[in-house]
């Protein structure tokens, strides 16, 4: 029995070696987004897969994308996934943190285990991650607010749809909206007018409509994430009666621009979160090149009625429709 135990222990510590003749070096890149139910992360996944196909041959490697995103938002599950990927030999990991506090120790552990880790969309700034690719969130909040002020003719009562309050990126966008509001003194934020909610389309839509029916004085919405617009018929008012400016530019949201419900969208590079992240990670893993900046800022694309169709064609290409 003791001999058996010793053999099992030795195998466990060594791992069971399997000899394989590999022609091309295989690079595994883990992608840990906030939740599978959020379409922006499906776009990121599509981007990562395309990057693996396009950039793999250029770098002379086989790239495998290991999608380890929890079905629903759960910071602990994300932390577990990061550790699992690092211990499973993933050379690179790109993560969008649901809660930076919870993800930070897992990111640090993954770096210690030899993986290159970067953040996209939602940063863990105090971790040992290599870099962050995403929106400058304060600027994003300011842009949304400035556009909303313009379409509201610089007066009226407004509210903010703010998603999950633990997301550090969202806190910064709210901060940006508030900072820009100071430039528009005739626009008032509804008392308790920041509405937080789980980042699922139905729950976001419910939050907007409940708030709007309870507070009919709301004349404008600054949506710092497009969650509510990922659902069909989410806005229960006639187009243009309540002004809306939102972040994100997913296919589902474009219909609201066409119908006139939404004045403008500030589209994040959600496809690029995956594509660009894979490129940055491959540069580091294969060529040893560090990114030029720790913060790589995604320039937001403004989508209005004028360019909505042209912008929509990108999605056909990105999602291979």
């Amino acid at each position: 029995m003791r001999k058996f135990t010793m053999i099992v222990s030795a195998l466990l510590i060594a791992g069971v070696s399997v000899v394989h003749g590999a022609d091309k070096k295989k690079i595994v890149i883990g992608l840990v987004a906030k939740s599978q139910s959020n379409p922006v992360f499906q776009a990121a996944f599509a981007g990562a897969k395309d990057a693996a196909k396009e950039l793999g041959p250029q770098f002379g490697v086989d790239v495998e994308i290991d999608w380890q995103t929890p079905p629903d938002e759960d910071a602990q599950k994300q932390a577990e996934a990061i550790e699992q990927l690092a211990r499973g030999g993933a050379q690179g990991i790109a993560v969008s943190c649901t809660d930076a506090n919870t993800c930070t120790p897992a990111i640090n552990k993954a770096v210690e285990l030899g993986s290159v880790v970067m953040c996209f969309d939602s940063d863990a700034p105090r971790s040992k991650r290599m870099c962050y690719y995403g929106t400058d969130d304060v600027t994003c909040g300011k842009l949304v607010m400035a556009e909303l002020a313009r379409v509201m003719n610089d007066r009226g009562t407004m509210a903010i749809l703010a998603g999950n309050q633990t997301g550090p990126n969202l806190q910064k966008r709210v901060q940006g909206v508030k900072e820009e509001m100071k430039n528009h003194p005739n626009i008032k934020l509804l008392p308790d007018g920041i509405f937080y909610h789980p980042e699922a389309p139905e729950q976001a839509s419910e939050a907007v409509n409940t708030a709007q029916s309870t507070h009919p004085e709301i004349e404008g919405w600054a949506m710092i994430g497009g969650w509510a617009l990922f659902a069909k018929n989410a806005l229960k008012w006639a187009p243009g009666t309540v002004k809306v400016v939102s972040v994100d530019g997913l296919p589902a949201e474009l219909g609201y621009v066409r119908s006139g419900h939404v004045a403008a969208l500030y589209a994040q590079d959600s496809y690029g979160w995956g594509h660009k992240s894979v490129e940055i990670l491959l540069n580091k893993i294969v060529k040893g090149e560090d990114p030029k900046d720790v913060h790589i800022i995604d320039p937001l694309t403004k989508v209005t009625k004028d360019n909505v169709d042209a912008y929509g064609k990108n999605w056909d290409k990105w999602l291979k429709k």
Binding site: D74, A75, Q84, G88, T102, T166
Partner: protein
């Protein structure tokens, strides 16, 4: 409530003394032995079916390696197993506690809220008593509230704990406006995090790399199993819980203080959730208002898969932990397998599949429980004739 069962002689005893006599060390029951077989089979399947992976230039088995089994299975199952142990006390007593996820979250947040006020290098003599005392006290208090409501209002425990699930989560949401702790640039004291709960063991490997393990959650889980096993199987207080769950009326007529025993079961469940919350806060170095959300389903599933009967009277500490291990192995299995070639089609596995498989495991476990109950009743009836 179910009828007294042949496997739990305590349920028909008439005094504390007989309850104590009934308790004796036993080998694992058939259900636990069956679970061990299931775990072994799962392990074998995963070992042989998992694709080899490349780590540090070596191709190794993706499942059967210490780097997977300890940190990816045993460590994250620790807090689940401890909560499953607590819920087992309640299920054995004939009740149910679906508020454990919220108690876990509240205990974790309270611990982080208190400890973030100390400097990172604060003395362990100051930090550790609070780090242990706060979550345990919160957990115990929540458990006592559940128990008191069930006993005093004579309400169905599902309704009571459904209500407290929402209340405890609501308290967490209101108390922490930032929704995540520690706040801002603060860190929890290292005496509780990196020097205790996430203390790291660095074992050098033959290839020069280090094997990094954080064994503390697992050690606490093992301690809890031993304490839970001794309590349930070897103490009067523990056997009284079986007696109550086996037949509440019989227990009452036998002179057992039914209300007090129920209160004890819920208090222990809350305490276990508090311990789990303490581990989670120390291990992750943080807590947020969503911590533990939805965990009640996994925890109850672990207890049920581990052999706890929802009709009361049956269940064990070992079973709860084995149940948690089965569930974690399923989750890990999906990660290591990734795809199953079925010849005519390849099935690609993703995390969503774990929900379906765990759901099936619960149904199978309850079906096996009902079948064994039916066979036992039939055997007893035949013996009487």
């Amino acid at each position: 409530m179910s009828q007294p069962t042949a496997t739990e002689p305590a349920t028909t005893s008439s005094s504390s003394a007989s309850v104590k006599r009934a308790s004796r060390p036993r080998l694992p029951r058939i259900q636990e032995a069956g679970l061990l077989v299931v775990i072994l089979l799962l392990g074998l399947v995963l070992t042989f079916a998992a694709e080899p992976i490349s780590v540090r230039g070596h191709m190794i088995n993706n499942f059967f390696r210490i780097d997977n089994i300890i940190p990816n299975v045993a460590t994250p199952m620790s807090w689940m197993a401890i909560m499953a142990l607590g819920v087992t006390f309640v299920i054995v007593s004939g009740g149910i506690d679906i508020s454990v996820g919220s108690i876990f979250g509240l205990a974790a947040l309270s611990t982080a809220a208190v400890l973030q006020n100390f400097p990172e290098n604060a003395s362990p003599w100051v930090v550790l008593p609070l780090a242990v005392g706060v979550p345990l006290a919160i957990g115990l208090l929540c458990g006592l509230i559940n128990g008191a409501l069930v006993v005093s209002l004579r309400m169905h425990p599902f309704i009571v704990t459904l209500g407290t699930l929402s209340i405890f989560r609501g308290i967490a949401l209101i108390s922490v406006p930032s929704k995540s702790l520690p706040y801002g640039d603060k860190n929890l004291p290292e005496a509780f995090t990196t020097h205790f709960m996430s203390w790291q063991l660095n074992i050098p490997r033959s290839d020069g790399s280090m094997l990094l393990l954080q064994p503390m959650p697992m050690i606490i889980m093992l301690l809890c199993i031993v304490v839970g096993w001794v309590f349930l199987s070897h103490t009067v207080a523990g056997r009284e819980i079986y007696a109550l769950g086996g037949n509440e009326e019989a227990a009452r007529f036998s002179g057992l203080a039914v209300g007090r025993i129920k209160l004890r079961a819920y208090a222990l469940s809350g305490l276990a959730a508090g311990i789990a919350g303490m581990i989670s806060t120390g291990y992750f170095g943080s807590a947020n208002t969503a911590t533990g959300e939805g965990y009640e389903l996994t925890v109850i599933a672990a207890a049920v898969v581990g052999g706890a009967s929802l009709t009361g009277g049956r269940g064990s500490a070992l079973g709860a932990v084995l149940g948690a291990l089965v569930i974690k192995l399923i989750e890990n299995g999906i990660y290591v397998l990734k795809k199953i070639p079925l010849g005519f089609v390849t099935l690609y596995l993703s995390k969503e599949y774990s929900k379906i498989i765990i759901g099936l495991a619960i149904i199978v476990a309850v079906a096996v429980d009902r079948l064994s109950e039916y066979l036992r009743t039939k055997k007893l009836a035949a013996a009487k004739q």
